[in-house]
Amino acid sequence: MSAVITTSSPASHPAPDLALPSPSAVLRDLQLNYGSQPVLMGLNWQLLPGQVVGLLGRNGAGKTSLLEALLGLRETQAGSVHLFGQPVAQLDDACRARIGYVPQQSDLFDGFTANQLLAYFRSFYPRWNEAKVEGLMARWDIPRDKPIAKLSGGQQQRLSIIRALAHEPDLLVLDEPVASLDPAGRRDFLRELVEQVLDRGTTVVFSTHILSDLERVAFNVAFMAEGRIALQAPLDELIDEVRALSGPTAALQGLIASDGLKVLSRRPLESGRERCLVRSVQGMSGLPPSVLSEALNLEDLFMELT
């Protein structure tokens, strides 16, 4: 992909806003390298209470590393992460009890049975919604006394989700939570996720490659590219406001300047033409005849921005 992201959205440089509630998570200037390979490059990000954010990025973009750094599971070379106002390396117990995490691999604790796993985690949390656990276990048809190693991938993933939801977290981090689920399982999970947000105002951040699921539940979408959050915005706004413009470079530059468009990416085409991805909050006044405008769906945005 030759697109170059030339500007950042407000999400990449969050400014304190007194009207907003205090954020659940604030990440500032995160720098993470694996050896000589940079993964996160001065990443800034903020998650507000009740926000549902779908994290999108190509394979190897660093989504899992970002989510692990967000939870303090991976040390970064520079930058800071605060969860509920506390530095992530020094979270107190009350703060840890407010976090739920579904890792990418769900075949964990594979020597335990589902009942043993839930009893194990219940012993650590001050709050545990037994009714919710019982309801989900019955609805998702998970065998209670079979070793987790012997459950199917989908059952393991569902169990992992139940475990993460059981203590009713205020921040729920899910790394590819639906990868092993069939469409019916995905729909059921997403419904549970939406209920969780509507009932309790939980902040949810989840990475996924299944864009149709994201369209169903994510009110916000964050695109990750080149070690940063390239753009984060409500999904419906993005669909309404982002356009791909193609035409002569001069005509495009005139249009961008006159309408105050925000350029998200630009790519040179043949014979003095280029293609720009622009965002316009106020809408565009009118297009020159030489400029072609295309509306984009989420998949197009993914291809252009990541």
Partner: protein, 479 residues
């Protein structure tokens, strides 16, 4: 050898796990050379020479086992059907290598004991058995049973008749018999390389599953996913102490037992309940063997203990040291579970976690070594502080220090690494100390005192360093 055959024979070495390097071959070489070293130290150089030659022949059989395993892995049903000449070349490579190793074994044994042709036929037959059992692993059971059943080889009429016929034929027409037998065996070897189809696929999948289970089991990972009903029932049966302890802890969760509860998530295999159960089983088995030897064979317990003292000292110390060394695998392969543990309320972090983890595990390693050593020292060595076998027991004392390390920076562990380190430390280290004491004329208690002082000194130094290491969990994240 033409290029495709070379590629086929090189494959097991090219596809070996690059992360574990040459630990496997090093382990095999060390294990094989230990008896020769012991014979050289305790008897004569001449006998050690014979032992070295026999060891070399055994190593040729091991090489065959590795190579034939590689050939079986390459004999994929799809390749057998779709790659031109694949099955034929595998067969040629198998027979070519088998003949080469047969000739090598025959020449080495023949040069020492005579009867080169007979040794060659024996080696060829043994390699064929290894090949058959590699393809159908269930064959190992009757082979192991027969090899450990002396009455079969001396009294079984069918076997004696077969052997008598073979010996008579060999004495009359040795070359003819050799050609017929080698041809038959070569044909049997060839048919092990199958030509594709659903039957081949079934066998290939079954062997791939058991290979994977063995590999994961050897590195301390749970193999429950590969187990059938019998395996699951056995796991349930042997897992009851762990489950009982888990029920006990989870019924009374409080801050005092928090780390003990968290530790349950590291898996049952490295838990103290599993070690205690293993100890009880090993000791019960040993006692049972002694009782059988005394009651059935009329041997005196005193005589048995004198003959078994080195074996028991080395074996039991290796078992305790091996369990401490094996912890690195258990921790590495539960690192994703540890990520979840670090989010649990109450879980210690940073230097505090490092200290508590090491304190618990070091305590377990030292206690198990102390219990085993005390038992062997009082019962087997009869409390004799000058018994040379004490050297092997003492080698287990500093093993626990390996637990005081930078866990966050550890790399992927290999299956052979803990075994190799255990063999280096206990039999080899013990042998060196044993000989040094004998040569210098020093008493064994001096070795005990030196070992204790050294362990305490290094332990204190490592304990201070622990605080400067990154948080242990998740293990291996900086490796």
């Amino acid at each position: 050898m033409s290029s495709p055959h070379a590629q086929i024979l090189l494959a097991p070495w090219l596809e070996r796990d690059k992360r574990t390097g040459w630990w496997g071959p090093a382990l095999i070489l060390l294990t094989a050379s230990l008896p020769t070293l012991a014979i050289w130290a305790w008897t004569s150089a001449e006998r050690a020479g014979v032992a070295a030659l026999v060891t070399a022949v055994v190593l040729l059989q091991v090489l065959w086992s590795v190579q034939f395993g590689g050939l079986l892995r390459q004999n994929h049903p799809h390749a057998a059907r779709l790659v031109p000449g694949h099955q034929r070349r595998l067969r040629e490579a198998a027979v070519g290598l088998w003949l080469l190793l047969t000739a090598g074994s025959a020449l080495m044994l023949g040069s020492m004991f005579g009867h080169t042709l007979a040794w060659g036929l024996g080696a060829a037959g043994l390699m064929l058995l290894i090949a058959l059992a590699s393809r159908a692993p269930l064959l190992w059971w009757p082979l192991a049973l027969l090899s450990g059943w002396p009455g079969f080889w001396t009294r079984n009429e069918l076997w004696l008749a077969l052997r008598g016929t073979a010996v008579a034929a060999y004495q009359q027409q040795p070359l003819l018999l050799a050609v017929v037998m080698l041809t038959l065996m070569a044909w049997l070897l060839c048919v092990q390389m199958q030509g594709g189809g659903s039957g081949h696929q079934k066998v290939y999948d079954r062997n791939a599953r058991s290979r994977q289970a063995m590999l994961e089991g050897a590195t301390g990972r749970s193999t429950l996913r590969y187990q059938g009903h019998i395996g699951l029932a056995l796991a349930r049966g042997f897992g009851w102490p762990f489950r009982a302890w888990m029920r006990h802890l989870l019924a009374r969760p409080d801050t005092r037992n928090l780390l003990a509860r968290a530790e349950l998530g590291l898996g049952a295999r490295s838990h103290w309940t599993a070690l205690a159960l293993a100890g009880v089983i090993v000791l019960s088995g040993t006692v049972l063997v002694f009782v059988l030897l005394v009651s059935l064979n009329g041997l005196r317990l005193q005589d048995i203990l004198v003959h078994a003292k080195y074996g028991l000292s080395i074996g039991l110390t290796c078992a305790t040291v091996g369990s401490a060394m094996g912890l690195s695998s258990a921790l590495y392969f539960s690192r994703r579970e540890q990520a979840l543990m670090m989010l649990l309320p109450g879980m210690p972090r940073g230097a505090e976690l490092n200290r508590q983890l090491v304190r618990r595990r070091l305590g377990l390693a030292f206690t198990s070594w102390l219990l085993v050593s005390a038992l062997v020292f009082t019962v087997v060595l009869q409390g004799d502080v000058n018994d040379p076998a004490l050297a092997f027991l003492l080698m287990g004392m500093p093993a626990g220090l390996l637990l005081m390390r930078n866990w966050a920076a550890m790399g992927p562990p290999g299956a052979q690494q803990p075994m190799l380190l255990t063999l280096l430390l206990v039999p080899l280290g013990g042998l060196v100390c044993h000989e040094a004491l004998r040569w210098l004329g020093l008493p064994s208690w001096l070795l005990a005192a030196s070992m204790l002082a050294l362990t305490l000194l290094i332990g204190a130094w490592l304990w201070r360093r622990l605080a400067s290491y990154p948080q242990a969990f998740p293990v291996g994240r900086l490796g």
